[in-house]
Symmetry: C2
Subunit: 144 residues, 2 copies
DNA sequence: CTATTAAAAGACAAAAAAGTATTTTACTTT
DNA sequence: AAAGTAAAATACTTTTTTGTCTTTTAATAG
């Protein structure tokens, strides 16, 4: 569904949203531990998201990653879009690059609905939405 | 959603189902042309599906790929399962390998529904189902 | 101002996926 | 039986994805 990069990105963003509620900044090491991801890899991913403005960062001591007001209202579709592009949302399920209403693949209309459901779900899901569940340990971002 | 291999596999299987309605056998070249795929690549994919019994094949002159009665009732989920495994149907959307009702990722329940929809759609879609549309050129398996 | 800290940038490496080519095997037609 | 055909098997190459490491830049604390 998502690329590995994108999976890590979503988990990291939820993690940061959760940990930086009070304006704190979170370092790469803590994030990597918190979501069970390779440290250098998630660093690279976050740098990319930072360049794209989905997350804020600050260098130096007490530095780290955090979200500003705008980032907080970011939804999961924004992250997927930034990392994997819109392929999942608009691409042909069978890989035809000319698939359209005028020239549909056999599954065009069926997939349209699925893709819409996925997009609606992600678009309607805000980063901060999980803070409660995470705190109460009703949901998890790592393996155990 | 699917791997490239799986996309080609589905398109090829639908193509074969369509072309071998009357028991004819279809060669790799014709298939590759019919679905706009790399010839050697689709050959390899079909050999794999043949080994797994999802498609029949015969060597030599007048040889090629075709479907027997059983294969005809094969649905798209069977193909996806054979090529990509069950990852799409049962895996965690965020890549946690220990994701479960007892230890859910934040999106576990939402994804559960999506995955079920995808599975139901594929499971409920038979190969031969598209013969009509394809013949009437209401649906296509290649780029133009 | 200096030392330290942490992200940014960019180069590198490994693994997996995608794609190609060659040789072997099996079947048919003559 | 021999020649020709088409899939099977297998080896190989390229590209993409995933993951790691080193150097540079920017911020802060002392």
């Amino acid at each position: 569904m998502f690329s590995k990069t994108c999976e890590y990105a979503i988990r990291a963003m939820i993690f940061i949203a959760n940990k930086s509620e009070d304006g704190a900044k979170i370092g790469v090491k803590e994030i990597a531990k918190g979501i069970d991801s390779p440290e250098y890899f998630i660093a690279k991913i976050l740098q990319d998201l930072s360049r794209k403005g989905l997350v804020q960062s600050l260098k130096g001591p007490t530095g780290g990653f955090y979200l500003d007001r705008k980032n907080n209202s970011c939804n999961l579709a924004d992250i997927v879009q930034a990392v994997d592009g819109d392929h999942l949302f608009v691409g042909c399920g069978l890989g035809l690059n000319e698939c359209s209403e005028k020239h549909p693949c056999p599954l065009h209309y069926e997939f349209k609905k699925i893709r819409k459901d996925i997009h609606d779900l992600l678009k309607g899901t805000n980063l901060v939405e999980f803070n409660d569940q995470l705190e109460k340990k009703l949901a998890f971002l790592k393996h155990r």
